[in-house]
């Protein structure tokens, strides 16, 4: 767990250094999105009952989502539309709505961190996070 947090932290730190060129922004957001995915994956398995409930992993996933979403919000400069990216052009056409989804992911993750106290509250609350992931991927991620 600690190793994962450090990795996430390093990623966020490197992302904070504003990317000068488009390729950096694309790479930085891919790294963060992957970190969010890696932290969320075991929790999604818990949700499906494939693995036993572990509060530590839930909190780690929520932390990755909250901090990741904050960092991602600045990683879509105009010059990063094209390249090796699954980011849809719609992101730049609907920037406000797109960024609102990251804001929602982060705010909900912080609220969930406090509200999730046991397995029952986890099963009730965590699916909303996945719903936000899906809402954004449906509209703004182009499958290559």
């Amino acid at each position: 767990m600690r190793v994962k947090s450090i990795v996430v932290g390093l990623v966020l730190a490197s992302a904070a250094v504003a990317p000068a060129i488009a390729a950096d922004a694309i790479e930085a957001r891919q790294t963060i999105l992957k970190a969010i995915g890696d932290a969320t994956r075991p929790v999604a398995a818990m949700l499906k009952g494939e693995t036993p409930f572990e509060m530590m992993r839930v909190k780690a996933a929520l932390l990755a989502q909250a901090q990741g979403a904050d960092a991602l919000a600045v990683l879509y400069p105009d010059n990063s539309r094209t390249g090796k990216t699954e980011a849809s052009p719609r992101i730049w056409a609907e920037k406000e709505r797109f960024l609102a989804l990251y804001a929602k992911l982060a705010a909900d993750a912080r609220a969930a961190e406090a509200a999730i106290v046991d397995e029952a509250s986890f099963k009730a609350i965590f699916p909303k996070q996945l719903a936000t992931c899906k809402a954004c991927h449906d509209d703004y991620r182009v499958k290559k």
């Binding site: 995915g37 994956r41 999604a44 909303k128 996945l130 719903a131 992931c133 899906k134 991927h137």
Partner: protein
């Protein structure tokens, strides 16, 4: 209007056919809504997909043993008949049908195929990261197959939307231009008596037989998915 209410009505659609029809409408609506709005409860979408397959399977069985107007043999017309009907329709000289007219019959076939294809591709579909939603047979196939199912599921939905728009447009056309109100007929099961080309009145299918078809459809879908490893 007073003329219409005075007209005697004849049976056109039996109860199972009507219940199926509106259940399918609801199933398509829930399928869309549970994907678009229900990202937090993927189970609803997956269960809805199974129900979609059951409905389509039921309708296929009912198309062989159901009421006279529900049978494929009564409404699936040859291409020649369908084209002739379409041309006559353009000239306003088409025959009137108690059941599906030749073009409407093909729309039924198209809608059933598209709904069935939605259900089938959904079995193998999952979100890109396979974290949020997974069809019951995702574990049995390769990533490439899931990817293909994903693409098809979306493309087929677009086709289904087009078919639904055409279908509704045709119903509106019949109501407004032809003064034939098809929606009330699909609700009450009755149409005004008239010189119909296909039959003067319909023979309903037995409700018991419909229940047997439903049980068979449930068994085929549930056991089929289980046999396939889901």
């Amino acid at each position: 209007m007073s003329e219409a209410t005075a007209t005697t009505k004849v049976p056109a659609w039996d109860l199972p056919t009507r219940v199926f029809k509106w259940a399918l409408v609801a199933c398509v609506a829930v399928g869309w809504a549970s994907d678009k709005l229900g990202g937090g409860s993927p189970d609803v979408h997956v269960m809805n997909g199974r129900i979609m397959l059951v409905l389509v399977m039921f309708r296929i069985l009912w198309g062989f043993v159901g009421g006279s107007t529900a049978r494929f043999s009564s409404f699936v017309a040859s291409p020649g008949t369908s084209i002739a009907y379409g041309l006559a329709l353009l000239k306003g000289r088409e025959g009137h049908y108690l059941g599906h007219n030749p073009l409407g019959g093909w729309m039924v076939v198209a809608l059933l195929l598209l709904c069935g294809a939605m259900g089938l591709t959904g079995l193998f579909n999952a979100d890109t990261d396979r974290m949020i939603i997974e069809g019951p047979l995702v574990k049995m196939v390769s990533d490439a197959t899931i990817s293909l199912a994903h693409k098809l599921h979306h493309k087929i939905f677009d086709l289904l939307l087009i078919a639904i728009v055409l279908h509704v447009a045709a119903v509106v056309f019949h109501a407004v231009v032809k003064k034939e109100r098809l929606v009330p007929a699909m609700v009450t099961g009755k149409k005004p008596a008239g010189p119909y080309v296909d039959a003067a009145k319909a023979t309903p299918g037995a409700v018991g037989l419909a229940l047997a078809c439903l049980v068979a459809a449930l068994a085929i879908v549930w056991l089929g998915i289980r046999a396939a490893g889901g």
